[in-house]
């Protein structure tokens, strides 16, 4: 019935149909609107302009026959929560009518219209429905309008489908522009893309997820709250997004709250969404969903997903295609930036062993680095059959026990830096890695840490470039470690070439000597010796001892001129052909020890073994006790004598005359007492190494004063005490020194001379000049001192047996103290034997440096 009526168009109707077709064609050819529903509204306007037509509504269907959107001219959809729901309701209410190709009358309750108009509907397109049109007409013109529309339905359907394509194409164009603008930049960012895509697709939420080590992580989202707190991680197959990731296929849902629809499309049973975007009210979006995989070289490198509130316009296959188009562009842009970077780094230097590890958190929340991949070099180095053996392994297992812990802190620090800057370098460090067979390989590893900041939070990859440590590197390292160890013990290591220039001076020596590194490298080593000539002797002696000398003591000099005693080992260095190329050695400042040994009268040319030193210390303690006793004894006699002499006078034993005879003696004895006490205080000063003020001391005057002190003692033994003050004035007028200390030198030497002289002989005090300098000489004729004792007599506590036999009470301190004082003045003392007038005499010669005695007494 209706089919027959469709065949006929009256002559009036034909131009109208032609007019409609022309207008629709014009809309197809040059769409004024880019908005799909706007185009539909334009089409509706064309229809409404037909004579007798009052209003029109055009609904577009998607390829599945579901209503998509509508455009209207004066004909409103029935009220509903959303336009989409209204469309759905309309289609539902019309039911089987929709299937009538000749059109159908729409009951007023389904699509209410004002006034007397009636609404007529017509499906567009056959057999697939592209859409529906509704037209409100006056009853009288209904037939004519229906005839024209039936005639024009093909072009109307074509227009609807064309609009759909047009919109899709225009969006593709815009997406292309977006891609060009975004990826064309050097440092493009994902950040703004979700917003742009949301606008283009009229989506309410858009999120980009990026593949990262087998998981999807958040790239960017329109929802700023997403990923805050808990990082977004989708594993394969988890949730809607994870199912896209797993299947590499897009997913379009009209209602995410419909489990059946989800099951139908995604084959998953989903509970609550895993990481949903939130809307403005804090609730997560539900409704339509469109997600597409970002593919690159057949691999999913990310997922782009969007949601639209339920009831808004439906996501179409065109939407899906458009989004897929963009997702592929994005995937292509993203993938090389990361995967190629890693791959490039790995294969760039194939000769070295490279292992890439990824820093992640384990289930317990601990950070852990796992091997991602290794190159062929690493495979060889670690003795792996295939790289798969090691993938996923905790990096700590790759290192020898304890080695990873040494570098961990440094690595973590650099990881933090990489998070901020994108990359960081660490090393090279020395370490040992563990081969599969359990052996360890010493390696030098340089690390490059790359942060993938496309994902949030950035993930960190550490690339270790390991090279087997060469033998020479190992030795150099060992050398360095030993040097550090030596430094902690303040032991200096040095190397010198054949000419005595220091090679690679180090901080330890700089600290010990006071010279800067630069100064050390510019000076010959002999300058470090207190006596530069000693170095040559030292080297010569070393050569004679098979090129090695151990534990020798040398007097060295610091930059500030102070001296110190160094104990050292030295070795002649030869090249492979046995040619001498220099020396190397170790030494340390042992001044304190040498001073102690010197004080203990022990050798000062070597460091004593502990047991020797302790024996010396014990002997020293005993000596001190004995010395105190001896001192007490020596004081008793003269003091007793003084008291008893006075008592004699008091008791009338002696008269005034006799008393005045005796007084010089007792005064002399009192002087002896005070001399003894004074020796003590000088000894203390000297032993403490106290510096003392120096003044010009007139030696002749000191000699004469000493003579006066001893005149009675000398007289008692019939000794002549001759002071050649003329020679003193000529050769040794003044000495820069400490008057009282120097007086003590005279006193002790003259006292000894008196004690040990034969009666009736002479004690002579004079000055002479030797090539080395002026000398003070005190000689006497008496006890000869045997050759082997001439050095020993200056040792503390040493007394010759003859001296002990002759003067049982004695301390053995006098000469020791003399030498100490003399040396403190930069002079030296020796005991000699000389023959004068056919008589052998004992001679003490104190040799002063020229500088110490440069001052002449003014005339």
């Amino acid at each position: 019935m209706e089919a027959s009526s469709a065949a006929l168009l009256s002559p009036d109707e034909f131009p109208l149909a032609l007019q409609l077709a022309r207008e629709a064609a014009s809309l197809i050819a040059s769409p004024q609107h880019r908005d799909f529903s706007g185009l539909l509204a334009d089409l509706a306007t064309c229809i409404a302009r037909l004579p007798g037509a009052e209003a029109a509504l055009v609904i577009a269907f998607d390829e599945a026959g579901e209503p998509l959107t509508s455009g209207t001219h004066g004909l409103d959809l029935p009220p509903a929560a959303s336009p989409l729901e209204a469309l759905a309701k309309l289609c539902q209410d019309l039911g089987p009518r929709l299937a009538r190709p000749e059109g159908f009358t729409v009951p007023p309750e389904v699509l209410p219209v004002p006034g007397a108009a009636q609404v007529w509907g017509l499906p567009l397109g056959q057999p697939q429905t592209a859409g529906l049109l509704f037209v409100a007409t006056t009853p009288e013109s209904a037939t004519a309008v229906q005839s024209v529309l039936r005639e024009g339905r093909t072009i109307l359907a074509a227009a609807v489908q064309s609009f759909l394509k047009t919109e899709a194409w225009s969006r593709i164009e815009r997406l292309q522009n977006l891609a060009r603008k975004t990826f064309g930049k050097q440092n493009w960012s994902l950040d703004k893309l979700p917003w742009r895509l949301a606008r283009l697709f009229r989506a309410d939420a858009v999120t980009i997820l990026v593949e990262e080590h087998g998981e999807l992580r958040l790239g960017a989202s329109t929802d700023p709250r997403l990923g805050k707190g808990v990082p977004v991680v989708y594993r394969l197959g988890k949730g809607l997004t994870g199912s896209i990731f797993a299947s590499a296929r897009s997913l379009r849902l009209s209602n995410t709250q419909d489990p059946e629809e989800i099951w139908r499309h995604a084959r998953i049973r989903r509970g609550a969404p895993l990481f949903p975007e939130r809307d403005d009210n804090g609730g997560f979006f539900s409704g339509q969903f469109l997600g597409v995989p970002m593919l690159f070289e057949g691999k999913v490198v990310g997922v782009l997903r969007m949601s639209r509130r339920g009831g808004a316009a439906r996501f179409t296959a065109e939407d899906e295609k458009a989004l897929q188009f963009f997702a592929d562009l994005l995937g292509a842009a993203l993938a090389p930036s990361w995967h190629l970077l890693v791959a490039k780094s790995v294969f760039e230097s194939v000769s070295e062993a490279i292992a890439v590890s990824r820093h992640e958190r384990d289930a317990a929340g601990n950070t852990i680095s796992r091997i991602v991949t290794v190159n062929a070099g690493a495979q060889t180095q670690l003795g792996l059959a295939s790289p798969a053996e090691i993938q996923g392994r905790d990096v700590r297992e790759v290192y020898a026990p304890g080695e990873y812990e040494k570098i961990r802190e440094g690595l973590l620090e650099k990881m933090a830096e990489a998070k901020l800057k994108g990359r960081a370098e660490y090393g090279p460090v020395s370490s040992r890695v563990c081969r599969e067979d359990g052996t360890f390989v010493p390696v030098r590893i340089s690390y490059r840490i790359l942060a993938n900041r496309r994902v949030s939070p950035p993930s960190l990859y550490t690339m270790g470039l390991a090279r087997e440590t060469s033998e020479s590197e190992r030795l150099a390292e060992q050398h360095q470690r030993i040097l550090q160890l030596l430094d902690t013990f303040s032991v200096v290591y040095f190397q010198a070439d054949r000419d005595g220039w220091t090679q690679q001076p180090n901080e330890t020596e700089s600290r010990v000597t006071g010279y800067s590194l630069a100064e050390l490298s510019r000076m010959k080593r002999e300058q470090l010796f207190a006596d530069p000539k000693k170095r040559a002797d030292f080297i010569k002696e070393t050569r004679e001892h098979e090129g090695r000398l151990a534990r020798r003591i040398q007097k060295m000099k610091r930059k500030d001129g102070t001296t110190f005693w160094a104990e050292g080992d030295i070795r002649i260095v030869r090249d492979s052909e046995g040619r001498e190329v220099g020396v190397e050695g170790l030494y340390r400042d042992r001044t304190d020890r040498i001073l102690v040994q010197d004080f203990l009268n022990a050798d000062t040319d070597r460091i004593l073994e502990d047991n020797e030193l302790f024996a010396k210390l014990r002997a020293d303690a005993e000596f001190h006790l004995n010395y105190l006793m001896s001192l007490g004894h020596q004081l008793q006699t003269p003091l007793g004598s003084l008291v008893e002499t006075l008592r004699n006078f008091e008791k009338g034993v002696t008269d005034v005359q006799r008393l005045s005879d005796r007084l010089p003696y007792v005064i002399g004895q009192a002087v002896v007492c005070s001399r003894l006490v004074r020796n003590l205080s000088y000894m203390d000063k000297i032993l403490r190494g106290e510096t003392f003020e120096r003044e010009p001391v007139t030696m002749a005057k000191l000699a004469i004063e000493t003579r006066l002190d001893f005149v009675h003692l000398a007289k008692e033994k019939r000794l002549d005490l001759l002071v050649d003050d003329a020679s003193l004035d000529r050769h040794l007028p003044r000495v820069q020194g400490h008057r009282e200390l120097l007086r003590q030198v005279f006193v002790n030497l003259v006292d000894n001379a008196i004690k040990y002289s034969l009666p009736g002989t002479e004690i002579r005090v004079r000055a002479r000049v030797w090539p080395q300098g002026p000398a003070l000489e005190i000689s006497n004729q008496g006890f000869p001192i045997r050759e082997e004792d001439r050095e020993k007599i200056f040792q503390r506590g040493f007394r010759t047996r003859q001296a002990q036999a002759l003067v049982p009470h004695g301390t053995g301190l006098g000469l020791w103290l003399v030498r100490k004082i003399v040396e403190a003045h930069g002079a030296s003392i020796r005991c000699l034997e000389e023959t004068e007038d056919g008589q052998k005499r004992v001679l003490f010669r104190i040799l002063f440096p020229h500088s110490a005695a440069g001052l002449r007494r003014s005339p």
């Binding site: 006793m629 007490g632 004894h633 020596q634 008793q636 006699t637 003269p638 003091l639 007793g640 004598s641 003084l642 008291v643 008893e644 002499t645 008592r647 004699n648 034993v653 002696t654 006799r658 005796r662 003696y665 002399g668 004895q669 003692l713 008692e716 040990y756 002289s757 034969l758 009666p759 008496g782 006890f783 000869p784 047996r801 003859q802 002990q804 036999a805 002759l806 003067v807 049982p808 009470h809």
Partner: protein, 157 residues
Amino acid sequence: MTQTAPPTPRRVLIIEDQIGDLLWLLDLIRSRGYETVLVTNEDAARRRLEAVSRGEESYALAIVDVAVAIKDLADLIALDDQFFEDSQDTGIRLCRYARHGLGLTPERFTLACLTVRDDLDVRREMKALQVPLFNKAAQSPAESIRGFIEQQLKPPA
């Protein structure tokens, strides 16, 4: 042969090498009318004591320094390398020699010793030898050699 006690000799033997310290003692002894005979080493002292034991010499008293020199300097020089005995107790050795070696008992011969050492072993030995020991240090006259001399050496009547 009946022995009558010989008149006390007005001579004192002094065995001391540092006589400079004991000039006051010489003054004291001389003030009481006694001569002093000074010996400055152990060797010479032995010869004197031997002479006493043989009755060739006699002394009212012998005062011995505990640590007198062994020999005189010239003798020592001549001896050169020989081993020397301990010089610290030459005086003790002399007293021992007088009492035991020569039989100069306290009844026959009065000895007194001077020392600067107050060691217990010295004291003990001197007590056994019945030789009073005096310290050279100044002390109260009664305890010193001064008191002993005043008691032993009667001034001439």
